[in-house]
C-alpha cells in the first residue's frame, strides 16, 4: 500500500510538473509575441510595444524581400505568434501563404484579428494599368515598397499601434504613449531629411528593381528606367543597350541596387558614368542601418555623398 501511495505521489508529482512545464506561458507573465515579415515592421513594433512585446522578423535585412526562402524554422514562430505584421500588397505572396498551411495558428490567418496588413492606410503608387504576366512579376495592388518613404513610416507606426491596441486593449495607453514619442522623433527627422535631400531634387537615377518610387516621389528624384526589363525579369542585352542610351541622353547620375547582383549596375556605370550605389531597402540591409530612422538617414546621406561627390 505504501509503495502504491509512493507511486501515486510520484505520478501526481510528474503529472503536475509536466502540466506546469507545458503551461509555463500561463504561469509566467507572457509578452505579446509579434512576428513581422520584414525588419522595418519589427523595429517599429519594438518602439511602440517596448517591453510588452517580443518581436521577430522572418526576413533579414540583407535578403531580397520578394524571395525569402520558405524555411520550416518559420513555422514554430508563426505557430506561437499573437500577431503577424506584414507589408501586404502581395509583397510576401511567394513565401507567406505556404507557411500558413502548416503553422496551425488560426489567429494570424488572413481576415483574422492577428493578421495585420500594414498597407491598409497607405496611398499606393503605381497600381498596374494592365494585369498580365507580360508585365513581369507585377503586384496587382500596386508598388509594395512604401516603407522607403519616412512619411509612410508614420502611417505604418500608427497602424501597428492601432493593431496592438485593438488586440491588447489593456495596454492601449502605453502603446499610444510610445507611438506619440516615436512619431515625435520621426517628426524631428522628417523636416531635417527634407532639407538635407534638397540637392537630390531632379537627380535622375535608375534602380535595379522598382522599389525606390516612394522615396523618389518624396525627395524629387527622377526615375528614368530600371535595370530589370520588367519586375523580376533580368535584363536582356537589348534592354541594356536601350537603357545605356537613355541614361546618357538623360544624364542619369545614380544606379541604385540592393540585394541584387552588382554585375549589371557596374556594367551600366562603366558605360554611362553614373554611380552604382548599393542601398538597403530594409532595416539591417547595412550594419549602419539597424533601425528604421537610421536606414532612411543612411540612404539619404549615401545618395547625397554620391551626388555631391560628382
Amino acid at each position: 500500500m505504501k509503495a502504491l501511495l509512493r507511486n501515486t505521489k510520484w505520478k501526481v508529482f510528474v503529472i503536475l510538473f509536466v502540466s506546469v512545464w507545458l503551461q509555463t506561458d500561463l504561469v509566467f507573465a507572457q509578452k505579446i509575441r509579434v512576428i513581422t515579415t520584414i525588419p522595418d515592421l519589427a523595429d517599429m513594433t519594438k518602439q511602440i510595444g517596448k517591453d510588452l512585446v517580443d518581436v521577430e522578423s522572418l526576413a533579414k535585412g540583407v535578403e531580397f524581400m520578394h524571395a525569402v526562402p520558405v524555411k520550416p524554422s518559420f513555422v514554430p514562430k508563426l505557430n506561437r505568434a499573437d500577431l503577424l505584421l506584414l507589408i501586404g500588397l502581395d509583397l510576401e505572396i511567394s513565401w507567406l501563404p505556404p507557411l500558413f498551411e502548416v503553422s496551425s495558428n488560426p489567429r494570424i490567418l488572413p481576415g483574422q484579428s492577428g493578421y495585420i496588413d500594414c498597407s491598409v492606410r497607405i496611398n499606393v503608387l503605381e497600381p498596374p494599368t494592365r494585369i498580365d504576366r507580360t508585365e513581369g512579376d507585377i503586384h496587382p495592388k500596386g508598388n509594395p515598397h512604401y516603407n522607403l518613404d519616412p512619411v509612410n513610416g508614420k502611417i505604418i507606426a500608427e497602424t501597428i499601434a492601432a493593431a496592438l491596441s485593438r488586440n491588447f486593449p489593456q495596454h492601449q495607453e502605453t502603446f499610444q504613449k510610445n507611438l506619440k514619442a516615436y512619431l515625435a522623433e520621426l517628426d524631428r527627422w522628417i523636416p531635417r531629411w527634407q532639407e538635407m535631400a534638397t540637392p537630390l531634387k531632379g537627380v535622375k537615377f535608375v534602380p535595379y528593381h522598382l522599389e525606390w518610387s516612394y522615396f523618389a516621389k518624396r525627395y524629387g528624384l527622377e526615375q528614368i528606367g530600371t535595370v530589370e526589363v520588367k519586375p523580376g525579369i533580368e535584363p536582356t542585352p537589348n534592354h541594356l543597350v536601350g537603357l545605356v542610351q537613355r541614361m546618357k541622353e538623360e544624364k542619369a547620375q545614380l544606379i541604385i541596387y540592393g540585394p541584387q547582383s552588382d554585375r549589371f549596375p557596374r556594367q551600366l556605370a562603366s558605360q554611362t558614368g553614373a554611380k552604382p550605389l548599393k542601398l538597403p531597402d530594409m532595416v539591417g540591409g547595412e550594419p549602419e542601418a539597424d533601425t528604421y530612422i537610421k536606414m532612411i538617414d543612411y540612404n539619404i546621406r549615401t545618395m547625397l555623398g554620391a551626388v555631391k561627390g560628382g
Partner: protein
C-alpha cells in the same frame, strides 16, 4: 533815475531769480533726458524682447502648423489609400469567391536509348485552391496527359483545429518521404528517381485521411498519421473502387524536422513508415503484411544576401520495402533497398546544374537493380517558365525494359499559367 534804478534792480532780481530757478531746472532737465533715453532704451529693449518672443512664437506656430499640414497630408493620403483599396476590392468582387487557379504545362522531347524518341506531353495540370469557410480550405489538381484525365489530388484540410492539429481528407499525395509528394513537373530534375517509381509507385497519391501534429518545440517538428487505401499513383496492389477488410488498408506515419545550422545552412530530416497488415497479391493467398519505410535528408546552403544567385541543395532518400511475393509454389518475403541522392548548384539567377544518382531494385526481385546517373542543367527563364536538359545513363543487371536502359536524353519545357498553388510541401 530812481525808477530806472528800480527797474534795473527789478530786472536784475528777475534775472537772478530766473537764473536761480532756471539753472537747477536746466540741470534737472539734463538728468531727465538721460532718464528718458534710458527709459526709451529699456522700452526698446523690452519691445525687441517682445518682438523676438513673438518671432519665436510665430516660428513655433509655423512649425506646428507645418506639422499639422504634414499630419493632414498623411491623413488625406491614408484616406485616399483606404478609398483606393475599397475601389480595388469592389473591382475585384466578381472574382472574390473564385478559387486561385493555375495551370502547369509540362512537355518533353526525349530519346530513350533503343526505345527511340518521343514528344511526350506529360502534364496539362490545372490546380485550384480556396478557403471553404473559416474552418477549412481545399485544393485540387486535375491532370490531363497522354494517359487520359485524372484527378491527381482533391482534398480538404482544416485550418482551425485546436492543439496544433490539422486534418486532411480526400485524394492527396501522402506525406511519405520528401520527393514522392512532389508533382512531377515540380521535381528538381526531369523524372522521378526510379527508386520512387518502383518502390512507391510514383507520386505518393492516396485516397484517405491524414492528421498532422505540430510539436510546440522551438524548432520545426511535425508528426503525421494517416490511413489510406494505398500509397502510390501507380501502385496496382489495391483497387480504389472496391471495399475490403480494414487490414488491407495502409497506415502510415511520418516524423519530419528541420534545423537552421547557420543563417545560410539548414538541414531537414524525415522518417516515414507505411504499414499494410494484409496485402493480397494474386498467387499469394496468405495475405501477409507490407512494410515500406524511408528516411530522407536535405541539406541546403542558401546565402541570405544572395539567395537569388547562389545556393546548393543536397537531397537523399533511402527506402526499404518488405513484403511477400509469389515464389515457386508458394510465396517468399522479399526485402529491397533503394534510394537516390542528388545535388543541385545554383549558378546565377537563371541557371542551375546538378547530378542525380539513383539505385532502384525491382520490388518483387530485389536482386535485380538499376543504377542511374543523370546530370542536368536548368534554365529558369522566369519564375513561371523553365527549360531543362537532362542526360541519363541507366545500367541494369538484368534484362530491363528498353525505356529503362542505356542512354537517355530529355529536353523539358515547363510553364505555369496563373497561380502556382503547389504550396509548402514542394517548397
Amino acid at each position: 533815475m530812481g525808477s530806472l534804478v528800480r527797474k534795473s534792480r527789478l530786472v536784475s532780481g528777475c534775472v537772478v531769480l530766473s537764473y536761480v530757478f532756471l539753472l537747477p531746472r536746466t540741470g534737472l532737465t539734463q538728468e531727465s533726458a538721460t532718464d528718458t533715453l534710458r527709459r526709451q532704451v529699456t522700452e526698446m529693449q523690452e519691445q525687441l524682447k517682445k518682438a523676438l518672443e513673438r518671432i519665436d512664437q510665430l516660428e513655433k506656430e509655423k512649425s506646428a502648423t507645418s506639422g499639422k499640414i504634414d499630419q493632414l497630408e498623411s491623413a488625406a493620403a491614408a484616406r485616399i489609400g483606404q478609398v483606393e483599396q475599397s475601389v480595388r476590392g469592389v473591382q475585384g468582387a466578381p472574382s472574390l469567391f473564385n478559387p486561385a487557379i493555375g495551370m502547369v504545362i509540362d512537355a518533353t522531347a526525349e530519346h530513350r536509348g533503343k526505345a527511340g524518341g518521343n514528344f511526350n506531353f506529360r502534364a496539362g495540370e490545372i490546380g485550384l485552391s480556396a478557403s471553404i469557410d473559416p474552418f477549412a480550405r481545399a485544393y485540387a489538381f486535375v491532370n490531363g496527359n497522354n494517359d487520359g484525365v485524372e484527378v491527381e489530388e482533391a482534398a480538404a484540410l482544416t485550418t482551425a483545429l485546436p492543439w496544433n492539429l490539422t486534418a486532411k481528407g480526400g485524394r492527396f499525395f501522402a506525406d511519405f518521404g520528401r520527393l514522392p509528394k512532389y508533382h512531377q513537373d515540380a521535381l528538381p530534375f526531369v523524372n522521378f528517381p526510379l527508386a520512387i517509381e518502383r518502390m512507391i509507385g510514383g507520386e505518393s497519391q492516396a485516397d484517405g485521411a491524414e492528421l498532422y501534429y505540430l510539436f510546440p518545440t522551438p524548432f520545426f517538428l511535425r508528426a503525421t498519421l494517416g490511413g489510406m487505401n494505398k500509397i502510390g499513383a501507380e501502385n496496382e496492389r489495391v483497387d480504389n473502387t472496391k471495399s475490403r477488410s480494414w487490414s488491407q488498408f495502409t497506415y502510415m506515419g511520418r516524423l519530419s524536422s528541420y534545423f537552421d545550422l547557420t543563417d545560410n545552412h539548414s538541414i531537414e530530416l524525415g522518417s516515414s513508415l507505411a504499414y499494410t497488415p494484409s496485402v493480397r497479391i494474386s498467387g499469394d493467398p496468405s495475405g501477409s503484411d507490407r512494410i515500406l519505410s524511408g528516411v530522407d535528408m536535405t541539406f541546403r546552403y542558401q546565402p541570405l544576401a544572395s539567395t537569388l544567385y547562389q545556393g546548393l541543395v543536397w537531397g537523399s532518400e533511402l527506402f526499404t520495402n518488405s513484403e511477400r511475393f509469389p515464389f515457386d509454389d508458394g510465396a517468399k518475403r522479399r526485402r529491397g533497398y533503394g534510394g537516390y541522392s542528388y545535388a543541385e548548384l545554383k549558378l546565377n539567377k537563371n541557371w542551375s546544374t546538378g547530378f542525380l544518382f539513383d539505385y532502384a531494385p525491382m520490388v518483387d526481385n530485389p536482386s535485380q537493380r538499376t543504377l542511374g546517373y543523370s546530370p542536368f542543367l536548368t534554365w529558369q527563364i522566369s519564375e513561371f517558365n523553365r527549360l531543362r536538359f537532362q542526360y541519363s545513363h541507366l545500367s541494369n543487371n538484368f534484362k530491363a525494359d528498353k525505356a529503362e536502359n542505356g542512354n537517355q536524353f530529355f529536353l523539358q519545357w515547363t510553364t505555369v499559367m496563373g497561380v502556382d498553388i503547389h504550396g509548402f510541401q514542394i517548397r
